[in-house]
């Protein structure tokens, strides 16, 4: 049978219809099958979505901090502007207010003016000098303030003035720093020019910048005095913006580059000017330029810049970080999605495999149930057949018994009547007639003997075994003695070997020995030196006995029929055997679970064997 046929046979035996889809034999096969089913689309889409999100975040990261930085810079700059505007304008407004009060003080109480001026200077650190200057004639070459401002206090006092002795012309100056605001003649000229213009135009002016010999930058504030308020002239003040601005915003501007410009001229500078930017135009996040709107019509410019970034821009900017992290995140997310996808497909495959297995289990259970039912019905049928067979056998035994029994009487009557006839009427019969009668009686008697054999045979089949331990040697001796009593010729030579005891039904085993030994006697009857050997052979699990004679023997080709009912060993046996003896032996031995067999050759005697199983002690 080829292996390719076996599945078909399996299906036939189980009676299962082959399922439509291909059978999956194992879960691992199932998983292998599904390996190709994992779609790459979700993974790819996830990765792309991650990239998109990264790009968005990157752009935000690129733009948001920029505007934020710009706003921060502007905030700082704005704060500075407000501080500077308020303070500067406070100075200017203070001077304007002073210009309305001080002339009267100057004339009425010069001492008070001076103290007031000193107080003013203390309160307004940007002003280094205040003076009330008589109005300068437009033709005058140099104004008193110019002399005052330009030279020294001593020279100022000596300078030509409308009222030279007027105490109001006295300077009130900050003690330290006098050396800082020595101007050259050119600057003095410009100072006077500005004074004249203020007077002529009758409006306060903030003019400058004037660079002092020290390099410091100063402004002149010239406020014309109203004539009705006292001496005509000007209130002049020197503004030194540098220290003022510094005191106001140096802390705020620390770390920045700060410049306050007046139309290009540098008023104040703090920090290191940034290097020239490669792009030319400065970024708005790096530079904040705000106007400083001062009173008296002046506008300065506040320039706040971030300090230049030294060296090359850093390799890892926030954008780079966002980009890298986003990329890694995308890859991770895509990986997670892919693993999830794989897990999902595997779970599906496992579910399918489970279902398949479950259906296989169910199928197997169904098939097993079917096989079991078949087996049960087979067993039932076997039991039924056995019962029927037993009934048939019992019927046959009964039939055998009845026929034998019922035939026995009439045939036995023939035996008797022929013998009576031969006896009572032998005078009326000649010798031939008597001989015929004797033959009839002989045949009938043979028939009766056969029926007796059949009855015994039947009886052995029906009788229950009564097992007991038997002394084999004693039984054999007893049987031989019994047989010798009936023996008419010369007894044979018996050779008896060791005979083990057995467990068997005593009457039945006696029948076995009787039949075998009487057989041996019968077939050695005509021998001159008859020998019968009785012995045993060792065999596993059983005791083997034999009865050997040196009689006529038989052809082994008839051996298979030896133990059948009515089989005659050889035609010459005639009335010696009735064809049942060996059948009875066989039946008894087989009922004990043993075997019978024979070995022989024509003219060389025969050996009959039988075995009785050893009983477990």
């Amino acid at each position: 049978m080829s292996s390719s046929e076996s599945p078909q046979i399996t299906d036939e035996t189980t009676g299962l219809a082959p399922s439509g889809r291909s059978r999956v034999t194992s879960v691992s096969d199932m998983l292998n099958l599904t390996r190709g089913l994992v779609s790459l689309w979700p993974t790819t889409l996830t990765f792309l979505a991650g990239l998109l999100a990264t790009a968005g975040v990157w752009m935000l990261a690129e733009t948001y901090p920029r505007s934020e930085r710009s706003r921060a810079l502007l905030g700082v700059a704005n704060g500075m502007r407000q501080v500077l505007e308020v303070r500067m304008n406070d100075h200017l407004r203070g001077l304007q207010l002073a210009s309305e009060v001080w002339p009267r003080f100057a004339t009425d109480d010069p001492t008070r003016w001076k103290s007031t001026a000193q107080m003013f200077l203390q309160q307004h650190p940007g002003v280094v000098l205040v003076a009330i200057v008589p109005a300068v004639a437009p033709a005058a070459a140099a104004g008193p303030p110019a002399a005052t401002v330009g030279a020294s206090p001593a020279s100022a006092a000596a300078a030509p003035a409308p009222t030279p002795a007027d105490p109001a012309t006295e300077l009130v100056a900050r003690d330290p720093g006098l050396e800082d605001w020595k101007f050259g003649s050119e600057v003095s000229a410009r100072l006077e020019e500005a004074q004249r213009r203020a007077v002529s135009e009758q409006r306060p002016s903030l003019d400058g910048p004037y660079a002092a010999a020290s390099g410091e930058v100063f402004y002149q504030i010239a406020i014309p005095l109203h004539a009705d308020q006292g001496p005509s002239g000007l209130l002049c003040a020197l503004l030194h913006p540098g220290p003022l601005i510094s005191s106001l915003v140096s802390e705020l501007a620390s770390g920045y580059f700060l410049a306050v410009r007046d139309e290009g001229a540098l008023v104040y500078m703090q920090g290191t000017p940034p290097r020239a930017r490669p792009s030319g135009e400065p970024d708005e996040e790096e530079v904040a330029e705000l106007p400083l709107r001062l009173l008296m019509g002046r506008t300065w410019t506040l320039d706040l810049e971030r300090p230049g970034t030294p060296g090359l821009p850093p390799l890892l900017t926030l954008g780079h970080l966002v980009l890298g992290a986003g990329l890694a995140f995308s890859v991770l997310l895509a990986g997670v999605v892919h693993l999830g996808q794989v897990a999902r497909v595997r779970a599906r495959a496992l579910a399918i495999a489970n279902r398949e297995l479950r259906s296989q289990i169910v199928s197997t259970a169904v098939a097993e149930g079917r096989v079991r039912r078949i087996n049960e019905s087979l067993e039932a049928r076997v039991a039924e057949r056995t019962r029927e067979l037993d009934e048939v056998v019992a019927e046959l035994e009964t039939f055998n018994y009845s026929v034998s029994h019922d035939l026995r009487s009439p045939i036995g009557a023939i035996v008797n009547f022929t013998s009576i006839l031969a006896e009572d009427y032998k005078e009326k019969l000649d010798e031939a007639g008597v001989d015929i009668l004797r033959r009839v009686a002989g045949c009938a008697q043979n028939a009766v003997a056969m029926m007796d054999g059949l009855l015994t045979f039947s009886h052995i089949g029906q009788q229950a075994l009564t097992l007991g331990s038997l002394d084999t040697r004693q039984m054999v001796d007893s049987v031989i003695a019994e047989l010798l009593l009936a023996l008419r010729g010369a007894p044979p030579t018996f050779t008896i070997g060791p005979l083990p005891d057995v467990v068997a039904d005593a009457p039945m085993l006696r029948t076995v020995w009787t039949n075998l030994l009487s057989n041996a006697l019968k077939f050695t009857e005509s021998s001159r030196a008859a020998e019968v050997e009785i012995g045993s052979q060792p065999a596993p699990g059983e005791d083997v006995f034999f009865v050997r004679d040196n009689g006529v023997g038989f052809d082994m080709k008839h051996a298979s029929r030896l133990f059948n009912v009515f089989e005659q060993l050889h035609p010459g046996a005639k009335s010696k055997g009735h064809g049942v003896g060996l059948a009875i032996v066989s039946r008894i031995v087989r009922r004990h679970g043993g075997r019978v067999w024979a070995q022989a050759a024509p003219g060389k005697g025969a050996t009959f064997y039988f075995s009785i199983p050893k009983q477990a002690a």
Binding site: Y401, H405, R408, S409, P410, I411, G412, A413, V415, N416, F417, T418, S419, I420, R438, A441, G442, A444, Q445, V448, D452, L455, T456, H459, Q463
Partner: protein, 145 residues
């Protein structure tokens, strides 16, 4: 003198009867043998006789009306016939039959023999023992219990 037969043969087979009667005749026992053909006749015959009169009953098993077993059972159930010797003479070799008969109280069991060496001679052997040697109580025996 006992003019009446003291041997009762219960047998329905005429061949067996003829063979038996010839054998009895040869041994001068013919007058002592009474033959009945079934169990009922046997019971009637036995009950009509006084206890101890019948020396032996040769009882066949297979008979019409009342068979040998039933006869045996009834004889043993009756106090007056409990001790009458019964020899079952049957064509059956069956151990069950033999055992059943002894269980019912048979005194002996003999299989019918067919031999050219003397028809019915075995019956003579049987009868001689029971008639000449065996002794039975004259009156019914009582149970000890």
């Amino acid at each position: 003198m006992s003019t009446e037969a003291d041997i009762l043969m219960v047998e329905d087979n005429e061949d067996d009867i003829a063979i038996a009667l010839r054998a009895f005749g040869k041994h001068n026992l013919r007058d002592r043998v009474e033959v009945v053909r079934d169990g009922q006749q046997a019971l009637d015959h036995i009950r009509a006789r006084p206890a101890g009169h019948i020396k032996v009953i040769l009882l066949d098993l297979r008979m019409p009306r009342v068979d040998g077993r039933e006869v045996l059972r009834l004889l043993r159930a009756d106090e007056r016939t409990r001790t009458v010797p019964v020899v079952v003479v049957s064509s059956s070799h069956h151990v069950d039959d033999i055992a059943a008969c002894y269980r019912l109280g048979a005194n002996s069991y003999v299989s019918k023999r067919y031999s050219t060496a003397g028809a019915g001679e075995y019956l003579i052997n049987v009868v001689q023992y029971w008639v000449e040697l065996n002794r039975i109580p004259e009156s019914p025996i009582q149970d000890h219990a």
